[in-house]
């Protein structure tokens, strides 16, 4: 039985593995730089912001939620670090930024769960608010996160090491991303929390009647999503020595694209992190490979759109999905 399960999990991501392999082969044959360790490291580093957030977006979407505000939240959290570093010190500012992310997630979660606003609308509103606040707090300026006075070298160096430090040749943010994916896989597949995510996304009412603390789980998934955005912001800020209210443009869409590419259903109740991981890798290989070819931005956008469609279409064909499954998500949110 185990074997069958394992192979079916493998089957689920098989199409993605093939797609990734194909992209790698194409990109590698187009440029012999693609497979150099240096480039692969860059590729991985570039995928960390999306990757870190995507772990928790996957969980959230499996539970039937959705968070479009992650990129704005990340920008806001970065700005919080920038704005508070001088008055409070760098590390307290980082902690407050993490708390800010969690708070934004909590507000999203409470609005979705207790007020009952549709997740898309809730987080769309939050997208606007968080981005606006990021501009307000930064006055629209990019704030250097740099030891200007020279009095706190240790703290700032440590902060910079967050993103620059390496272990076994890979930068820390990549390890963090891998760690989060591994942790997420464990949680989703083996823990009661993961089980609850699948159950709530699969059938909220049944979960409630099975005495699961549905609302608490839901809120927590949003909090984690906000927290992951803050975490991504911390590493981004550390990497750039600066906090930009414009940071992470379009990341929310990239995250959703990666998660959906990975086979997580927008309807909730289905999905897996391995798929998301592959989805993230596919998107960043595609982008990186096209960059090495100096592909124009427009063409990059078009190719990404097509790949998304293709991947989801393959999934549909593989599932032999002949039902109107695509509308079920809206059905479900209707029942809640």
């Amino acid at each position: 039985m185990r074997k069958i399960l394992r192979s079916s999990a493998l089957q689920e991501v098989l199409a993605l593995i093939i797609m990734l392999a194909l992209i790698v082969v194409i990109m590698a044959s187009a440029s012999n730089l693609f497979l150099t360790p240096r480039n692969l490291t860059n590729l991985l580093i570039d995928s960390t912001t999306v990757g870190i957030i995507a772990v928790f977006s996957t969980m959230l979407m499996i539970s039937g939620g959705l968070d479009l505000s992650v990129a704005s939240t990340a920008a806001l959290c970065g700005v919080v670090i920038g704005a508070l570093q001088v008055s409070l010190g760098l590390w307290p500012a980082v902690l407050i930024a993490l708390a800010t992310g969690a708070l934004v997630g909590l507000i999203n979660g409470l609005l979705v769960t207790f007020v009952g606003i549709n997740p898309l609308i809730t987080t769309l509103g939050m997208l606007s608010i968080a981005r606006g606040l990021a501009f307000v707090f930064s006055n629209g300026l990019t704030i250097p996160v740099f030891d200007l006075s020279g009095e706190h070298m240790a703290a700032y160096n440590a902060f910079a090491r967050l993103s620059e430090g390496r272990w076994l040749g890979l930068p820390y943010p990549v390890w963090l991303m891998l760690l989060l994916f591994a942790l997420g896989l464990l949680i989703l597949n083996l823990s009661s929390y993961g089980r609850a995510m699948y159950a709530i996304g699969g059938n909220e009412e049944a979960s409630q009647l099975a005495a699961l603390a549905v609302k608490r789980y839901r809120v927590s998934a949003y909090v984690l999503s906000g927290l992951s955005a803050a975490l991504a912001a911390v590493f981004l800020t550390s990497r750039l020595y600066a906090a930009d209210p414009r940071a992470a443009p379009g990341v929310e869409l990239t995250v959703i694209t990666a998660v959906v590419l990975g086979g997580t259903s927008l309807a909730g109740g289905q999905g897996n992190l391995l798929g998301t991981f592959l989805g993230v890798l596919i998107l960043s290989s595609l982008l990186n490979g096209m960059k090495l070819q100096s592909t124009s931005t427009e063409l990059q956008n078009i190719v990404q759109g097509l790949v998304l469609l293709l991947a989801v279409a393959i999934d549909q064909v593989r599932n032999g999905n002949l039902q109107l499954g695509f509308l079920r998500r809206f059905q479900k949110s209707k029942q809640t």
């Binding site: 009661s192 089980r195 699969g202 059938n203 009412e205 049944a206 009647l209 099975a210 005495a211």
Partner: protein, 504 residues
């Protein structure tokens, strides 16, 4: 014998390689009611969904009035005069009753633009007329979502019988109806039959079959067992054909209630404005108590409130003599109450999850360390319950619960609460849509559980079931308890009378 209307020959159908129908024939004559019988999962619904164009057959042929037909979509079947009442309700909540009655076939205005625009006046008139068929007083302009479940079901039925159909298929239409409503439905069916309409009638209630059908076709495991006139069969022989073995008519052997049994559940003056009021009763350890009431009397809301799925406004609940503050299901569970909801598919199970995961959904605490499941332990416990309750499924405990038959699904929900080690078990309509065999299994389980000392509270609208399985019967009318009967003194007349508000 009337003229042959429908002939299905050699129907085969498989889902994902699993054969669901094998070489099944079906014949139907004008003006007859054909009962289609079989256990849960025998393939009844699949067969008629193929007839209706909802599913496509793998091989076989369908002849309607001698012509070979092939329906790609339900609307094709409808165009040929085939109408369905589905097992699950199908309505658009935000449209009015009138629109729901005619949806897919809205009356259009005459004239060149007639194709596009609706004739509201005609629609309303016809809707009134149609609703009068079953003596229903519903304003046709009411949005569907404002109706009660029963009203919605009735609208569904009317929708099908009002259409000018040659062939009407009814898949368990009476599950939610009260006896007078069933009677009215049967009247209508007889009238339609006299007009020459042919009807395929699916039900797990054998008494209904004998009331209404002329012929019966029995399926077992996707194969045709027999087609016979009703005059040649008896309930016992039907059951044997369906199950493949003999099952004696069930009479639960109730254990003697010992006088000193402890009170497991006590409800005092529970009230919820506008729904139920002043409800007080006790359930002892080892006792099965049924609440019987016409649908909409508040019994579902009452049990939901006891478990915490809804909030009551007043009153108190005691479990094992301890007052409990129950405001959400977690509280109910903590207090030792288990709850089997009314519609297992919609409310009871996460259909896409495996049997095992559904089984342990409420019980991860015992099966995990630091919130992480201990896979061995989980499987072991699941296996224990699967064996104890005789849950049958192809493919083992990792099969999605969606693929189980209704009765087995019901057992999964039951097992979940037994694993949670509850003291009080509340069951809502435990045998809705469950076949005779599985029904008998479920009764066995209840009996066994009661003997083990569990206090069991059952809500059922099946009077036979209530009379046979309960130590005591409480009747509910318009949200108030009207009477209480011991097993010995309960009779169909008395209970029905009390539940209709006529008693006391």
């Amino acid at each position: 014998m009337n003229a042959l209307l429908l002939e299905m020959r050699g129907i085969h159908k498989a889902f994902y390689g699993v054969k669901v129908l094998e070489d099944v024939p079906l014949t139907l004559y004008r003006g007859e009611v054909l009962a289609l019988l079989g256990e849960n999962g025998a393939g009844k619904s699949t067969l008629i969904k193929i007839l209706n164009g909802d599913y496509q057959l793998d091989s076989g042929q369908i002849f309607l009035e001698g012509q070979a037909v092939y329906f790609k979509e339900p609307r094709d079947a409808e165009a040929s005069g085939i109408k369905m009442i589905y097992q699950e309700l199908h309505y658009a909540p935000d449209l009015s009753v009138a629109e729901n009655l005619f949806i897919g076939n809205l009356p259009r205005i005459s004239g060149p633009l007639g194709r596009f625009f609706i004739d509201w006046k005609k629609m309303r008139q016809e809707a009134k007329h149609a609703l009068a068929l079953l003596n229903v007083e519903i304003d046709p302009d009411t949005p569907m979502r404002d109706l009660t479940v029963v009203e919605r079901q009735i609208v569904e039925i009317i929708k099908a019988i009002y259409a000018d159909a040659k062939l009407l298929v009814m898949d368990e239409p009476t599950a939610a109806l009260t006896p007078p409503e069933v009677e009215m439905l049967f009247d209508t069916v007889r009238r339609l039959r006299e007009k020459g309409v042919a009807i395929i009638y699916i039900s797990h209630r054998l008494d209904e079959i004998f009331q209404i059908a002329q012929r019966v076709t029995v399926l077992r495991d996707g194969r045709h067992v027999a087609s016979k006139p009703m005059s040649e069969v008896s309930p016992a022989s039907l059951v044997e054909m369906m199950v493949g073995r003999e099952i004696e008519a069930r009479q639960v052997e109730l254990a003697e209630q010992t006088a000193g049994a402890k009170v497991a559940l006590e409800v005092r003056q529970l009230g919820k404005t506008g729904v139920f009021e002043d409800i007080s009763f006790k359930v002892h350890e080892g006792e099965i108590v049924s609440i019987f009431g016409l649908l909409g009397s508040g019994q579902i809301s009452l049990t939901r409130s006891i478990f915490g799925a809804e909030r009551s406004d007043r009153g108190s609940i005691f479990v094992n003599g301890q007052e409990q503050r129950i405001r959400k299901p977690q509280d109910g569970k903590r207090a030792g109450i288990g709850f089997v909801p009314i519609d297992r598919k919609v409310r009871g199970l996460v259909l896409g999850m495996s049997v095992r995961k559904n089984l342990t959904l409420s019980n991860w605490q015992n099966l995990s360390r630091l919130s992480f499941f201990l896979p061995q332990l989980e499987r072991q416990h699941s296996q224990t319950w699967i064996e104890a309750l005789g849950i049958r499924m192809a493919g083992g405990m990792d099969v999605p619960v969606r693929f189980l038959s209704g009765g087995n699904q019901q057992k999964v929900v039951l097992a979940r609460w037994l694993e949670a080690n509850v003291k009080v078990l509340i069951l809502n309509e435990p045998t809705w849509g469950v076949d005779v065999g599985a029904r008998s299994d479920i009764y066995d389980q209840l009996e066994m559980l009661a003997k083990k000392g569990l206090a069991i509270l059952v809500v059922s609208s099946d009077i036979q079931e209530v009379l046979s399985i309960s130590h005591r019967v409480l009747t509910l009318y318009k949200g108030r308890l009207t009477a209480e009967f011991d097993h010995s003194e309960a009779s169909q007349d008395k209970v029905l009378n009390a539940a209709a508000g006529g008693a006391l």
